[in-house]
Amino acid sequence: MTDAEELLVRTRKLLDEHPPATTDRTDFLRARFDAGLAWVHYPVGLGGLDAPRALQAVVDAELAAAGAPDNDPRKIGIGLGMAAPTVLAHGTDEVKRRFLRPLWVGEEVWCQLFSEPGAGSDLAALATRAVRDGEDWVVDGQKVWTSSAHTARWAILIARTDPDAPKHRGITYFVCDMTDPGVEVRPLRQITGEAEFNEVFLTGVRIPDAHRLGEIGDGWRVAQTTLMNERVSIGGARIPREGGMIGKVATTWRERPELRTHDLHRRLLDHWVDAEVARLAGERLRQQLVAGRPGPEGSAMKLAFARLNQAISGLEVELLGDEGLLYGEWEMRRPELVDFTGRDAGYRYLRSKGNSIEGGTSEVLLNIVAERVLGLPPEPRNDKDVAWKDLAR
């Protein structure tokens, strides 16, 4: 067991041996990983110390105070939030050792090859095929809306390995090499004008069986690890009052008295209260996690922030009036990181529309809350116990 005291000692030792001011960023992050201070709740040897997750804050605070570089979670969010916990839970020792360090340091970016043109909310309907060939699997299919595929070195991929089984049972989970010649990434331009996500075509892609996570046909269960972590990774951070979108509008309101109207004032105050309440709810969730009593509130936070971001950014465009009629630039760009609050009000308004779609739509999350949290009866289903190949598509 590692306590806060010991973590502080280790953190200071790291800082002594690798002074942030004179150490290369990547070298520092590697040393931090090797010292077990990357994610302290991970196992020894894999960037952690088997310590309680809550103690990460102790390390982070000490490092931040010393001006140490961080590993920029915005750029490597899919790797950190989703690939890593799945690799940790379902990978072989060799796979864990190969992937976790460069993932955490940010040397290798990850993407998620889950969604397909015919399989979004109904992800288990996916049609991308993986066929066994000796020690390899050969993958053919098409994925879509893949964020960061253009910068990613690796992907988590789910594919169908048994079309005769019911849809949830014939899926297997892989780590896919994005530099494989059979992988073609095409930018998919989005509502904001830029291309943050992509279409990915997989043609005869060979994946070694050693890069399979979990058992053959058990990919849906493995994917649950990924999807659960996708939602949890949202509520974790501490936000200051007026952090996020509301801070942008509040600042404009204070600095531009000529824009104020009574109607907008009421709505701004409504949103200000909602944002503060969402912040407090996030804080309460964090305290529950620290106290070892996680609740179902995690899925609530994603829903709340999606609604809030959309309402606030919409108000911001209105508040700006003539300026709100303008847009920064439509030129097609391929951003390296996802930036929700960056650029201008028009961009924020458009980008926030994705908040209620990406990572599971708000409608689907409401179903989950209703059924799993409130215990309401499930929807009637007609896709159970039917072989995937016999389902209507």
Binding site: V277, L303, T341
Partner: protein
Amino acid sequence: MTETTETAEPSLDLLYSETEDDLRAAVRALLTDRAGHQDLLGRIETDSPYVPGLWKSLAGDIGVAGLLVPEKLGGQGASHREAAVVLEELGRAVTPLPYLTSAVVATETLLALAGESDAAAGLLAELAGGRTVAVLAVPLSTAPEAELPLGESVAAVADATAADVFLVLRADGLYAVPADEATVEPQTPLDLTRPLAAVTTGAGSGARLAGPDAARAAVRRGLLAGAGLLASEQLGLAEWCLEETVRYTRERHQFNRPVGSFQALKHRMAQLWLDLVGARAAARAAADALATGSADAPLIVAVAQAHCSKVAVRAAEECVQLHGGIGMTWEHPAHLALKRAKSDQIALGSTGRHQDAIAALVDLPAPA
């Protein structure tokens, strides 16, 4: 990260302690036993909705009346956090009891004066022991930062019929006026579980507890605590409404399915749950900020009120709607919750008033 206006935000404890959980269990058991909804439905049209002896059991035996009062002044030496838990339970059961008015607003007002005034300290000890009920003679709608009404004749005073003593604000200070020296004329309330009355006190009656400045500050402190903890009553009420609606819609069948399996209804209930997650955080934050005497308390209280008022009303309205015809029926308790929720929205300041307070506190001024 974006810039913030408040640099030093105090950290708030938003969880429940074990002591608080125990207190909740004790209060809930007593209310379930003695003040169920059916019992309440039979009582609301009589002269008094209060359950005889309930105040004595709750205030005396469990000791909830003196939670805010330090032990050396005759109380339990607990805090707003525990009082908030009591209010959550009173909200769930929509219990008619002068808890918010006497054990919170009047008590907190007197606490502000107890150091200076022996009379206030003495009265406080009686309130803490549950022997006396005191009510601040202002309209229930009075917001913490509102222009304070003075006067000999005040309407819409909550729990006036249960009061032994009125705290009356006059131009020259705060007075304690025994109820038998006052005229109390009951009014017909929207919320049948929180009786209202017009209270008239003779000029110069009663004993003076404080001069004008101290009196005003004390009353504001009482109203702030009241508004902050009312959020917990609203939370408890909303929670009951959601639980009851989920229970009912799982059982009620139409079109050969439980109506709770229809997605349109499921999403509405899930949305309410979401609002409740926020309401719980906000109500806890207000209770904790009051308990620690945080400088942030006026803002957190206003936020909690602005949010929890809306959530309670929405939960009660959804409860009525999703119960269908039975929800409109006098015999079903949904209307008790709706009436309480709607009048709680006005109590201790409307949503708009709390928003105005927020606008001033965080510098988001209205148009010139």
